[in-house]
Every structure is written in C-alpha cells, then in structure tokens.
C-alpha cells in the first residue's frame, strides 16, 4: 500500500502519493510542491509545517525525505546528481522529468556524505 501525504488548509486539500512527491520549495509563507507528473502546486503552508506532516504521515515506504537548508525538502528516491562545489543537486526519474536545484555547498556536502554512508560506499 502506498503512503499519501495530505496537506490541507481552509480552502484546499492536496493528496500526493509519497513516490510522486519530488520536492518542495519554500517561498516565504507559501510552499511550491513539485510532483513527478510535472505539476507544481502552491499552498499557503510554511515549509516547516510540511516537514512536520511528512514526518507524521510518511514512514512506511521506500521514499526518504531530507530537508536541505531553509528552503528545500527533497525525495532522495529521485536524487541523481550532487555537486557541492557547484552548489547543484538534480532530481530526476531519468525518463520524464529533471529538476536542477541549488543549495548551499555545506548542506550538499553533508547530503553527499549521508548518501555515501547509507549505501556504505
């Protein structure tokens, strides 16, 4: 059974399968939610609140979510490239979408180390 992330406020509700959620980017009080069908949805929810919902709701699947700095949450399932020196991270399913994102060098260095450790490289 797949897990779903449910985000809701007074006006709308978004239900996203964990394996479809690629990343979430913060824009102040708003968050832009990107899914693997190329859709971008904007909600009036702060990134910290989405992080909390992911922590509460998504824990029984193969998707691993990481908060990178103040403005990104990414699904490591789609991680295809990290280059801390260039401050670059790429999320892709290698078929239909490819997102080039930017984050701090130090955060990406930590993420690279984490992925290496997890896979005992």
């Amino acid at each position: 059974m797949s897990d779903h992330l449910i985000l809701s406020n007074a006006n709308e509700l978004i239900r996203i399968a964990a394996e479809s959620l690629v990343y979430v980017a913060s824009d102040g009080n708003y968050s832009d939610i990107y899914t693997c069908d190329g859709e971008k949805r904007t909600m009036t929810i702060q990134l910290g609140a989405i992080e909390e919902k992911i922590h509460q709701q998504l824990h029984t699947n193969n998707n691993e979510f990481v908060r990178i700095g103040k403005s990104l949450i990414v699904n490591l399932q789609f991680l295809t490239y990290i280059n801390p020196a260039k401050k670059q991270i790429v999320l892709s399913d290698n078929r239909t979408f490819r997102f080039h994102l930017e984050a701090s060098k130090e955060a990406l260095r930590q993420l690279k180390e984490y992925v290496e450790q997890e896979h005992k490289l």
Partner: protein, 298 residues
Amino acid sequence: MKHIEDIKDDEIRIISRQEVKRKPFYLRWWFWTIVVAAVLLLAVLLALSVRTKTAKSVDVPETVTESVPVAPTIVQAEPATVLVRDTVINDVPLRLLTPVNAVPELCLGIPDTTDPSLVLGLQAADIRADNRKIVGAFVMKGELLSRGMAKKGFCAIIDGKIQLGMAESTPLFEEVTEKDGYFFRQYPLVNQRVMVENKPKNKALRHAICELNGQIVVVSSLDKESFHDFAQAIADLGVDNAIALIGKNAYGFLHDSENGFQSWGEDIEMWEREPYVNFIVWRAKTNNHPSPTNPLTH
C-alpha cells in the same frame, strides 16, 4: 518540537527514513509479559471488589435529588462605541480611537457606513498603482485574495483577536487561513517598542493600528507628518507594536456614542471605483460573537 526547529542553510535534516522491517508486536516477549501481568492484576482487583461488596451489606436509604430547572442566563451585550482621546507627543498632535465592545474584521469594498453596528472603519492595505490590486498578502475569512511581502508589517485577526508584528513570514498567516481569519500587510511603524524606519519621506495625514497597554488603538495624526515623526511619536506614546494604515486621503469613519457619525478622508465615491479597496472595521459584539478574555480583542 524537534521537527520544526529552525534549520540553517548549510544544514540538512533527515525527515523520514526507509522503514526497517520489525517483528510484529505480538511476536515479542514483552508483549506477552504485559498481557500476563494485566490478567493477574485484573483477577486480584476482581477478588478485592467482591470482598468489599459483601462487607457493605447495610441498607442505606436512597437519596433522591430533584433537579430544579435553571433559567438560561441571557447575556446582554454592552453597547459598542469608540472612545476618542486627543494628545500631543513631540509636538505631533494625535487622536487615539479605542473601539469598545466591538470585534475587528476586514472587508472588501466600501463598508455600509449607515450600519450603526460598524463603529469604526479605516482603509487597511494599499492598492497597487499599476493593476489596482492589493499590495502584499491579504486573507479574507481564510481565503487568500492576494499574496506577496512588499511590506514587513502584518495584522492578523484570529477569533476576533488582533495580532500585530513585523516578519517576512509568520505562522499566524497559516493559522489565519485555517481558522477563517483575516490578514493584511502594511509598513511596520513600531516593533517591540522600537520605532521602525520606512522609506516614504513625504508628509501626509497618517493612521496606524497599535497595541497600547494591552489594547488595540487606532492612532491618527491630526496634522500632516512624515513617517519618521509619526512613528517616533507613537513609539514615544508607549505602544508595543504598530503598523500603518493607509494615510493621506484615505477614507475612514466612526460611530461615536456621543457625537454620532463622523468621517474623514476623500470622497467615498472615489474609492467606490476601486475594486480592491479594503477596510479594517470594528463591528459591535453580539451574543453570537466569541467573548474573548484577552483585552486585545477590542
């Protein structure tokens, strides 16, 4: 809480990990230990209860309590009004308007000034000169009508309570959308008792919504003032937080119990042509309104 702690740009935090397969709880030794202990405890309690009941075999006359119907309490709402007080701070003449027994809300369009339940109304968020839409985030009964952060000051109204502040993002914004509240942005004038400088240098009639001694008070300048002089005057007045309301020729009105209806600013017909003209108004409390204990509700 751990998971909503601040995070720096050079940090990462693992939110959810891949699940590690664990034995089901009913295959674990501690589960069966707890079950056996609970059964034993239940048996002991049952035996004790049977023994106590046997000892209490004395007849006790039954007490019958008649329930007396209680008449419902009718709470009469106190009349709503606006207290008007003039003062001079640093040679800046100010008028303080304190709504009493009234609940704040935002409204889009010109409010019905003939409605005596509206005791005070002033224009809230600015209108953009190019597209005539609202400047900055604006939430009306939980519905987001405009977004953006052109000005750092904010006014959030949740459950009839006003909260003023200065921040690029605030959790109150989310709370407002969840609780059908109201939100708008304006220039911050005083933050935590400290005056805030703003860019506009021209002189004009100024209005501000302020938190003063635990009450919400609208302060207006009686002469044309610069943002700096007005903000300094209200800071010296002792307000904790304050944000600007639209000044210059903005329309405003009050229903004062002593002097009746008064209005100021430019002709209302001019503003009627603006589709996004918006007001903060105070409406007389009714018995249906929440009766908050916090004095900031005024």
